[in-house]
Amino acid sequence: MKDDRNEHLNILAPRSMRPKFDYLHREVQDLAGMRVNRRAALGIGGLALLAAACGGSTNAGGGGGGAASQPADALKGKPLEDQLVIYNWSEYDDPSTYKKFEELPAESAAGLKTHETYYSSNDELLAKLHAGGTGYDIVVPSQNAVGELIQEGGLMKLDFNLIPNIKNLDPKFRKASFDPTGEFHVIKDFGITMFFYQNTVVKPSTEPKTMKDFYNLLNANVSKGRTNVLDGAEEVVPLAAMALGYSANTDDQAELDDTQKFLLSIRKGVTTISSFGYINDASAGKIILSQGWNGDVRRILKARKKEGDITAVLPTEKSEVWADSWCVPATAPHPVAAHAWINWLLEPTTAVTEMEYHSYPIPIPAALDQMPAETKNDPIFNVPSTYTDNYEYILNPNPQLVNARTKIYQQFKAA
């Protein structure tokens, strides 16, 4: 892949304009789904999605396959292929991870080369796979997409004989609600949704602790500056449902109605509904109250260290935990190489390099131990299980619920 992201642009302008241009640059990078915010899921991703939707119409729905029935050791004795095609979020893995993988003894003997293409949202990944996109050996779906793909028979059962390093992974992360048997995914990293506020502007009478407290602060503070909630139907609706004490994935009509009513009641307290660009805006002191993903909030805290005016809150009670996972599509042309790749990523030294690169925790105890103390002991990085035990994965159990969520979300936005 040609890397043209570092091209220089020379602009003749007064030096005092520099910060403005820098800001603009960051904003545009952000929108283009660059590394600033991995989960930015908008705009460009949407266009690619539409393109995929049109291109593969005749194959729509053909992603299913008989993957579920394949024996667990189907790959036994098969030789390592010389190709590995990864379909991934952009800039989500350290470049040295690929290089060192190709240089491993067995891999270099097989002359293995890795190829990577990128997507910017789960929707885009799913649309590509639904439209009959084959040829990928590794994909990196988030928890809801993993669940969906398993349901559709789109993933290959992993052969853990080929992934001996699985022993390094914290056993608690082997199985998950989106893959109850743990046969289809290996967790790549995880994060949670929390909130933060500018303590010089927002002065709550009692210390906010839960996501419900966050929502309750919105209406009273919106006149003081920009408030923000995270974007997307699968974010807005389940987070609000959890704040009300319901399950993130509730499909009970009364609970959904209640969630909608609650969302509409706090709607006038919301200035923006956005998941991208909030890091920069909050770092520039332009957001007074917002939800955020923990990796992003850490970055904001770092940027505002001098001012020290950001209070970040890990919610007690319910909130979202999300995870991105390594998965192998049922149609993967190079499955042995895919397993070798997953095994390599479970190597503690690799995990350390990776965590330093993307700054999201990988649940490999031997790797976490090697992280610098200020990272390892930062609850916003390595979120203690006293919090995450209350958190839930947001899933897409069935299309009806996803449609219902989308409609509530649209009503919330259009209100």
Binding site: L24, V28, G61, A127, H130, Q410, A414
Partner: protein, 289 residues
């Protein structure tokens, strides 16, 4: 678009003096149009009468259930809002663009092309970057908000400003073209015969340039109706156009049939305006303007 108005009409007599062009000249555009415009449209139409089965998959049937779902107070509200915003945006664009085009065509001579260039140059910059630049100007920490007290970022006013700003050149160009062709001696004649300047403008200039104004107006109105980026960036994601709703339906809900039905409905609504335009254009032609 002006070419539509001057299409050659078939004559009654057998003899034709119209020049003959080899028909194959139309082939490249016809092919391109069929594959890359009509093709996707056909897919969209097929999707819109299908039903969703599973995630992001389509079961091909013939069902109008998707269109029945469009008839919902939520979507009607968003359609109304979109059309209203686009109409307001177009009228504002006309109010800002027409005087400028008039001034350029009538009073500039040496610098006419330079002025045109100044108007076109921003078009060479990415749409996205221009919208972001506008966000900086409208920012609550910017001069406009701090010094003038105009704090409108993330409101419908910001969206309106964004619409006018981004589409202005698209309006000025056709109007400028029709003003350029104006025979200004007509105005002199009218004034000599005692018409007041405003009467002369109203009865001559405005009437003669009306086709350009309508063309330019539609040229900005239609893309404004399909706007996605501007409401998202300048409206803060909470001032939705139909485009955003369609995006959510394809993306978040992975419901392609319903997304297609929404798209087709928007196109149907817009077609009404195109029909009005065509009727208007043919009427003008009959008058021989």
């Amino acid at each position: 678009m002006a070419a539509v108005a001057t299409a050659v009409k078939p004559r009654k007599s057998g003899r034709s003096f119209a020049p003959k062009y080899p028909k194959w000249l139309t082939l490249p555009s016809l092919l391109y149009y069929s594959i890359f415009f009509l093709g996707p449209m056909a897919i969209l139409a097929v999707f819109s009468v299908s039903i969703q089965s599973g995630f992001g998959s389509v079961e091909y049937t013939f069902s109008t259930s998707q269109f029945a779902q469009v008839n919902d107070s939520l979507y009607i509200t968003v359609f109304e809002r979109t059309l209203l915003m686009a109409a307001t945006g177009s009228l504002l664009t006309i109010a800002v663009g027409y005087p400028l085009a008039y001034w350029m065509a009538r009073y500039l001579s040496t610098y006419k092309m330079l002025a045109l260039l100044v108007i076109i140059v921003p078009f060479w910059t990415s749409f996205l970057i221009r919208t972001y630049a506008l966000k900086i100007i409208l920012d609550s920490h910017g001069y406009l908000a701090q010094d003038l007290g105009i704090n409108i970022l993330y409101t419908k006013y910001a969206v309106g400003i964004g619409l006018v700003y981004n589409y202005l050149p698209l309006f000025i160009l056709p109007v400028f073209a029709s003003l350029e062709r104006m025979d200004w001696t007509l105005i002199e004649a009218a004034t000599d015969l005692g018409a007041k300047p405003f009467t002369a403008f109203k009865d001559i200039t405005l009437r003669l340039t009306m086709p350009g104004v309508v063309t330019g107006g539609l040229l900005v109105f239609i893309p404004m109706c399909g706007e996605y980026i501007i409401p998202n960036i300048l409206g803060g994601g909470k001032f939705e156009f139909v485009g955003n709703i369609i995006g959510d339906t394809f993306g978040d809900a992975q419901n392609w049939p319903f997304g297609s039905a929404l798209s087709i409905s928007l196109m149907a609504a817009l077609s009404v305006f195109v029909v009005i335009y065509i009727m208007f254009a043919t009427r003008e032609e009959q008058f021989g303007a």
